[in-house]
């Protein structure tokens, strides 16, 4: 009991100090007592290894440099297969470059966002903060091998992109000092607003609806519905609903029914066995690995995306077992020239055994 009183006194005393001096140091000491021996002090090296973020004021930007020319080499080797040689590609990701003008660079607002003349928003049409580009490239690129670019390689890559955006000349060398000045040339640097009520829970809503209950509108008109040709666009909805219960899925492979099936209250029914046609394990595994390792990013099933389609590959190599070794090497180390100008990126992370399963599936997809 007396112990408890003493403890309370200390608490009250501490709170007093806390209020007067706003001292989080004391509060901290107290909490340490409460949760003793939980967690440990991080070392400087640990913080340096993980704390790589770069803020809009460029706090966190590492020292380094890279030229447009070096950037172009890196780009063509590691980035162009997804983003296109000029960052313009819309094949795998939305375009990075395009839609900005020298006038935008002067003004700080991208006009294409206002006049809507550019068909799609590119990265540099949207981006207001240059720090974000450095942070993201260094943090997460290239796509299939994130965090493998050095600081200088990141500067080079970004220099190349800034050149494509007409922010810097071809002979430019980007470094941690001139980065800050270039912020003032970002084409959409004044294009963001935080003047809205959607950041904090206490924020004021921008739309104020009224909960009318009776005779709220005169006439209801349908202004939009799915066009007939899109009926099966998300595949057969009959197979995406429970096979029993109050509502079945609509068979979207067929036109709509002309009448309610059961107007009479009774209906002819057919009891069906649930069809479970699953592919064999090996084939399924090949397809799964293909998807899991993002091969589908460049190789469509029937259509050419960046690389040839699975069907094209199958046609070319079916029955040629000797091709397997060559293809395995190509998947592993990358290659170019057989199907077009876009090089196949290397996949060093893939085990040979997995490559074999994927290739066998690609050559004999079912």
């Amino acid at each position: 009991m007396s112990r408890r009183c003493k403890h309370q006194k200390i608490t009250i005393f501490s709170i007093g100090i806390y209020l007067i001096f706003s001292s989080w140091v004391l509060a901290q000491d107290q909490l340490h007592t409460r949760y003793s021996n939980i967690g440990r002090q991080a070392t400087q090296a640990e913080v340096a290894a993980w704390d790589i973020d770069v803020r809009p004021d460029f706090k966190g930007l590492p020292k380094g440099s890279g030229s447009v020319a070096q950037g172009q080499d890196i780009w063509e080797a590691k980035c162009a297969s997804c983003h296109g040689v000029f960052g313009e590609s819309n094949e795998v990701f939305t375009p990075i470059i395009g839609g900005t003008t020298l006038e935008d660079i002067k003004r700080g607002r991208v006009n294409a966002l206002i006049d809507r003349k550019h068909p799609q928003r590119t990265t540099f049409m949207k981006l207001a903060t240059l720090s974000t580009a450095f942070d993201y490239i260094y943090r997460a690129m290239p796509w299939n091998a994130p965090r493998t670019l050095s600081v200088d390689e990141t500067y080079s890559t970004l220099a190349y992109l800034l050149h494509l955006t007409e922010m810097v000349p071809a002979e430019f060398v980007l470094n941690e000092v001139n980065m800050m000045q270039l912020q003032n040339k970002m084409p959409n640097r004044d294009g963001m607003t935080t003047d809205h009520g959607l950041w904090q829970v206490s924020g004021k809503a921008d739309v104020r609806a009224v909960a009318c209950m009776k005779n709220c509108i005169k006439e209801v008109k349908i202004e939009s519905s799915l066009p007939d040709y899109a009926r099966n666009s998300h595949h057969n909805l009959a197979q995406q609903n429970r096979i029993f219960g109050p509502y079945l899925g609509v068979d979207t492979t067929r036109p709509p029914l002309l009448e309610l099936p059961n107007n009479t209250g009774l209906i002819k029914v057919v009891v069906k066995e649930v069809q479970r046609t699953l592919p064999t394990d090996d084939v399924r595994q090949g397809g799964t690995l293909f998807k899991k390792n993002n091969c589908a990013a460049c190789h469509g099933m029937n259509h050419k995306i960046l690389g040839p389609s699975v069907v094209e590959i199958s046609k070319k190599y079916q029955g040629k077992t000797e091709a397997l070794a060559t293809l395995t090497k190509k998947v592993k180390n990358g290659g170019a020239g057989v199907w077009g100008v876009v090089p196949m990126p290397a996949n060093p992370q893939l085990a040979d055994s997995d490559i074999k399963i994927i290739l066998e599936w690609m050559i004999n997809p079912q």
Binding site: L31, L248, K268
Partner: protein
């Protein structure tokens, strides 16, 4: 006679399947007198039984023979006459094979790279407020990983007295809380800003799920590390996956109800949902609930990360982007019946749906069956929790007429879920994110339900 041999049995609706041959005939040729006559003749004896005794009649359509009752009852079924499977046949239990249709699915054509994509929860088939963990929607920015929990660390750095490393063991020793919250992607319903684009509720609203999450409050960790609350107005949360996804969280939110979570619906998080550790920022768009959480940094300004400066920004008609839009405003949708479903007959149905608000609890949900002309309050099903899904229901005797079903939620702040028209007036049609408009489902004369937008 086995069930398979019973093709062509007539029995009472609605517990049935539609005969595809009949549908084909009706679809292609309509219900002419012959087909009508065939149906009528087949039904005659059954109808007779129904009319005279109030019992259901059964007719074998091919033999035109009246049966004594439902073969599902009269005949012994395999599952009654054989020995069942032993325990631990499935050491981790799975749904029935008859539920195979209900899966997370990608929306065809939405993304081109499945590792930077979305899979949608099949809301059309779910009950209650909790989403089964295996059906929780997925959104990955650079693929998902299955991280070794013994090698997972959480670092807290920046404006703190002690920059601290926590292991999973450290975190799980702390006082934990379990709370039910929804997670909704900011882009949920984003395809529908301009017009109807997808057919079913799985694709219009399937980027919301609701789970019971277990973890430690972020405020506890900030206390332990001695966060400088005077200067430190923001927390950066960073994921441990390849994308190293980062998001800024305002300190007021961080101290309110943000959780550092390892548990989900009674077990550890699923890898696709951030195993072994994620942030849950209740009421805020899902991207802030950073998965595979490895670092928290206390800072004095927002970070304008990739997902705050290139994506998750809302384009306005004047060409400006709203940045740091976070709150998922009050929203609701009827999940059954919903787009892509087929009603087989007139009569009684239970209309059911879900409502939620990033600003607190759901206060009321109204339902309209005439496209928004008249509204009636639905029954709210408890528990009604803060920043959680609330299930609502309403009785419905469908008279076979064209109906447009809508639901409209109101939260405890008094905010009323708006129409698409109201939203467009302020935000235009290009903002992608934060579409919380009232959803309309057309129930047509043929019993087919489809996605529509009304004026």
């Amino acid at each position: 006679m086995s069930y398979k041999d019973q093709l062509g049995v007539i029995k009472s609706s609605p517990e049935n399947y539609i005969d595809q041959d009949l549908i084909m005939q009706v679809t292609q040729k309509g219900l002419n007198d012959d087909r009508r006559g065939f149906l009528r003749k087949s039904f005659t004896s059954a109808l007779g039984v129904v009319a005279s005794s109030g019992l259901v009649g059964y007719v074998n359509a091919e033999e035109k023979k009246v049966l004594a009752g439902d073969p599902a009852i009269l005949e012994k079924q395999d599952w009654q006459t054989t020995l069942g499977k032993p325990v631990v046949t499935n050491p981790y239990g799975m749904p029935s094979k008859f539920e195979d249709n209900l899966q997370r699915r990608e929306s065809p054509g939405l993304t081109r790279v499945s590792a930077a994509s979305v899979s949608f929860t099949p809301l059309q088939a779910l009950f209650g407020m909790i989403t089964p963990s295996g059906l929780h929607f997925e959104r990955h920015h650079q693929g998902w990983q299955d991280i070794d929990p013994t090698k997972h660390r959480l670092m807290v750095n920046g404006l703190v007295k002690r920059e601290t490393i926590f292991t999973m063991a450290d975190l799980m020793r702390l006082p934990s809380v379990s709370r039910i919250h929804f997670i909704e992607c900011g882009a949920n319903t984003g395809l529908e800003w301009g017009n109807v684009a997808v057919p079913s509720v799985q694709y219009t609203h399937g980027m919301i799920s609701c789970s019971e999450f277990t973890g430690v409050l972020l405020s506890t960790l900030l206390d332990i590390c001695g966060a400088d609350l005077k200067k430190g107005k923001f927390v950066l949360a960073e994921g441990g996956d390849g994308s190293g996804l980062t998001r800024t969280i305002a300190m007021s939110t961080a101290l309110d109800d943000v959780m550092v979570v390892w548990g989900m619906n009674g077990e550890m998080l699923r890898p696709e949902n951030g195993y072994p550790l994620r942030l849950v920022v209740p009421g805020v768009q899902g991207v802030s609930s950073v998965k595979w959480l490895r670092r928290l940094e206390v800072g004095d300004m927002p970070y304008a990360t990739k997902d705050e400066a290139m994506h998750y920004i809302d384009l306005l008609p004047n060409g400006l982007h709203r940045q740091y839009t976070s709150i998922q405003e009050c929203k609701s949708v009827i999940t059954s019946p919903s787009g892509g479903q087929q009603l087989l007959s007139r009569g009684f149905y239970n209309i059911s749906g879900i409502a939620w608000s990033g600003r607190g609890k759901i206060k009321r949900v109204d339902i309209s069956m005439d496209g928004g002309q008249n509204w009636r309050p639905a029954r709210l099903q408890g528990p009604i929790l803060n920043k959680s899904i609330t299930r609502f229901n309403m009785d419905w005797n469908w008279d076979g007429k064209r109906s447009i079903l809508q639901s409209r939620a109101i939260d405890e702040t008094g905010y009323v879920q708006p129409t698409m028209r109201l939203l467009r007036e302020v935000r235009g049609t290009r903002s992608i994110y934060h579409n919380n408009a009232i959803q309309s489902w057309l129930v047509d004369l043929n019993g087919e339900v489809s996605n529509v937008q009304t004026m």
